[in-house]
């Protein structure tokens, strides 16, 4: 390693230099030690602490945010003690290092580790047995897994994506011509702020069912009973399986349309007014303008939005979990992953499902990397 930076102080005698060097060394060791001790004390306080809730919250925020800031300052401070050449070499890693370390621990390395776990039976590596690719065979043959794939691909993607994109586009086009654009867009976008658990409660309350001879308090069943139908809890009504999934799909379309709308709205505003006017002067009606000019112009945005919603739908979890727990034939890939990994405690199979999810998004990853290379950012 490098040498500690030379200090051209007035005192240049050998004895004096040794004293400053020793003092510096003590500082270099002591300051990080004190900092780590304080941070560790904070951690223990938060883990064991019996203080009032608001005290714990305040300490947690100060300790968490402050701790990271202190660590950065500390790293930088110690690197700046080195000579110029070493500083130039090490300093980038003070800046980039923490991010890379966390990314490695939380995302990059787990890809390999999860794949490794997926090659073992339910106990995983260590105590479990190596079974090769047998878990992947199970993933594609197990009845519940096949059901999850069917729901995820044929019901979620086939219905949720066109619904979301379609509603988003419709609202964007309509709002563009309305005086109430801002209000309308805000209200349609609003569900994006709500958690999936909260959305689950909202829609549970729409689907809620009462015995047939009492008044229905859920909107959907109230309407159905008024039209002469029988009240049911539709998301769990297996007699109409697999179409009961659509009652969950609607929730996600409701949540995500706002996102699609915002992107489409921005794209539509980017179309030059002259092009639209020219087409209208040439006698095109509004529908022709929409299909022959707007759609081709914003095609790029449509593809982006569609891809995003597809990825999102592939990973759908919370809504299904809160509404039906993945039962009644409504399981999806992510709920099966959760069930196998954390409830059935089948580590190997759970890991294999996670890998399948990863493989499903790899085309998008490749597309992103290509885009990045074209940008020539480096």
């Amino acid at each position: 390693m490098g040498f500690l930076q030379q200090n051209d102080s007035a005192d240049s005698s050998i004895g004096g230099r040794i004293v400053t060097l020793v003092l510096r060394l003590i500082l270099v060791v002591a300051i990080p030690l004190i900092a780590f001790a304080v941070l560790y004390a904070g951690f223990i306080f938060l883990r064991e602490g019996n203080a009032p809730k608001w005290v714990i919250t305040a300490v947690a925020i100060i300790w968490g945010v402050g701790g990271v800031a202190v660590l950065f300052w500390l790293f930088n401070w110690s690197v700046e003690l080195f000579s110029d050449t070493w500083r130039a070499r090490l300093q980038p890693f003070v800046f980039v290092g923490p991010a890379l370390a966390i990314l490695a621990w939380y995302l990059a390395i787990p890809v390999g580790r999860t794949f490794y776990i997926s090659l073992f039976d339910r106990d995983g590596p260590g105590t479990g047995q190596f079974i090769g690719l047998a878990n992947y065979a199970t993933v594609f043959t197990d009845r519940l897994m096949r059901e999850a794939f069917r729901n995820n691909i044929f019901l979620w993607i086939i219905f949720a994506v066109p619904l979301t994109v379609g509603f988003g586009l419709l609202v964007a086009v309509l709002a563009d011509r309305s005086r109430f654009e801002r209000t309308a867009k805000a209200l349609i976008f609003l569900p994006m702020a709500i958690s999936f658990v909260g959305a689950g409660v909202i829609w549970n309350f729409i689907y809620v069912v009462r015995p047939p001879d009492t008044e229905q308090i859920g909107l959907l069943n109230a309407i159905i009973v008024n039209l002469g139908g029988a009240p049911r809890f539709w998301p769990a009504h297996t007699a109409i399986a697999p179409w009961n999934n659509l009652f969950l799909v609607i929730i996600v379309a409701w949540l995500q349309s706002g996102y699609a709308m915002v992107l489409f709205s921005a794209a539509i505003k980017g179309i030059p007014e002259e092009i639209l006017e020219a087409a209208r002067v040439d006698g095109a009606n509004e529908i022709e303008v929409f299909f022959k000019i707007m759609i081709p112009t914003i095609l790029g945005t449509i593809i982006t939005v569609t891809t995003t919603v597809v990825i999102f739908t592939l990973k759908i979890f919370d809504v299904v979990w809160v509404m039906t727990g993945g039962q009644f034939g409504t399981g999806v890939i992510a709920t099966q992953f959760y069930r196998q990994s954390f409830i059935a405690r089948n580590a190997g199979l759970g890991a294999a499902i996670a890998i399948v999810l990863l493989i499903a998004v790899i085309p998008v990853m490749i597309y992103n990397l290509r885009q990045f290379r074209e940008q020539e950012a480096f």
């Binding site: 925020i61 800046f95 309350f205 990853m365």
Partner: protein, 367 residues
């Protein structure tokens, strides 16, 4: 040109009408929940929330005693100008003047009520549901039949504080780390710069499910499960690729001269970053901060896995999901509870809409 004007008016009507319909469809679910959360428990259980709007309802205007009228409940009876059997009266029979006769109770001791259809609104509102959800008090209810029922409350306060303790650091920590990294990638030179950044881009769409089991095993080894630090780090890890990518794109576009003149003045990278770059990146930081804050606040899966075993650190989404699971029919608690979890996102949404929309658009591909 009258025809064209009329056509214009018609198309405006069509546009605004359809828009209104869609907006209503989108708003009604949330509005129904909000209205219900203020209605008394008995009302929520017995009538739909739409009864707060004017509607027609059968209201009893008179009660007749069949024995006083000398009616024979086993055969056809003559009451108020209609002929009906007991069964028909049980189901409700309409009289010629538009009222309804309804037999209540059993054949021997029951009574007949004369009901008229009147316009009414159901405007009983209460704050009891919110008190119950926030203070965790037990509430006594008197049922219509006179029996007293005690419903335990559900305390969300602890979960609110936990959500804050989780969400604030889980927003600030990734921003800080990502801002440093973005600066490093944009303006510093080191070996492997391009390689490491390509990895960041590749990790953008990796589903976080891939990491849950390995990380959970690590946490179990170092005894970190159920602590705030565990979930901050997890959210930091899952949010970092996007944060680095966004902030890099922003910082890169800043003019290089700023940096160079600062270096000439003798500033170090650290000071340039703190004094110059961080303040200048505020719009990008704000957009990502709002996206990440709401993502963490609304997250259920990550919290469930890394905080799942610890009641002390339970966050709002977990509290609400537990309530759905254990007391799915206590709608007075669920509606109020759901709204309590939504207050923060809604405040953020309405006060910082512009940043929020920008952040959401940028962050939608997050794994």
């Amino acid at each position: 040109m009258a025809g064209s004007r009329r056509q214009k008016w018609l198309s405006l009507l069509l546009v605004n009408g359809t828009l209104l319909l869609l907006v209503l469809l989108w708003t009604v679910p949330t509005a129904g929940l909000f209205i219900s959360s203020w209605r008394p428990r008995i009302d929520i259980q017995s009538t739909g929330w739409w009864s707060v709007f004017p509607h027609r309802e059968w209201r009893t205007v008179a009660t007749l005693d069949p024995r006083e009228l000398g009616l024979d409940a086993t055969g056809v009876m003559q009451v108020e100008g209609v002929e009906a059997t007991f069964e028909e009266l049980r189901a409700g029979v309409e009289t010629p003047d538009g009222a309804q006769l309804r037999w209540l109770g059993n054949r021997r001791l029951g009574r007949i009520e004369v009901q008229e259809r009147v316009w009414t609104v159901n405007w009983d509102f209460t704050t009891e549901n919110y008190q119950q959800v926030l203070q965790g008090k037990d509430f006594e209810y008197v049922n219509p039949d006179g029996s007293v029922e005690i419903i335990p409350g559900d305390n969300f306060w602890g979960a609110i504080f936990n959500s804050i303790a989780v969400a604030v650091p889980a927003t600030v920590i990734p921003i800080l780390i990502a801002a440093f990294a973005a600066y490093g990638f944009a303006w510093m030179d080191f070996t492997g710069r391009r390689f490491f950044f390509v990895i960041v881009v590749a990790l953008l769409v990796v589903p976080l499910q891939i990491a849950l089991v390995p990380i959970l095993r690590d946490y179990a080894k170092i005894n970190l499960n159920g602590t705030f630090l565990a979930i901050w780090l997890a959210h930091t890890g899952f949010g970092l690729p996007l944060a680095v990518y966004l902030l890099f794109n922003y910082i890169r576009t800043m003019p290089r001269e700023i940096l160079e003149s600062a270096f000439i003045d003798g500033a170090s990278h650290f000071t340039v970053f703190l004094r110059l770059i961080l303040p200048l990146s505020t719009p990008a930081l704000a957009s990502f901060a709002i996206f990440q804050f709401l993502w963490v606040w609304n997250d259920y899966l990550v919290a469930l896995i890394f905080l799942g075993g610890n009641k002390e650190t339970e966050v709002l989404t977990m509290r609400l999901a537990n309530l759905v699971g254990s007391r799915g029919n206590d709608w007075h608690l669920l509606t109020a509870g759901a709204f309590v979890t939504m207050i923060m996102p809604l405040v953020v949404f309405f006060s910082l809409q512009r940043y929020f929309v920008r952040g959401m658009m940028a962050g939608s591909v997050k794994g």
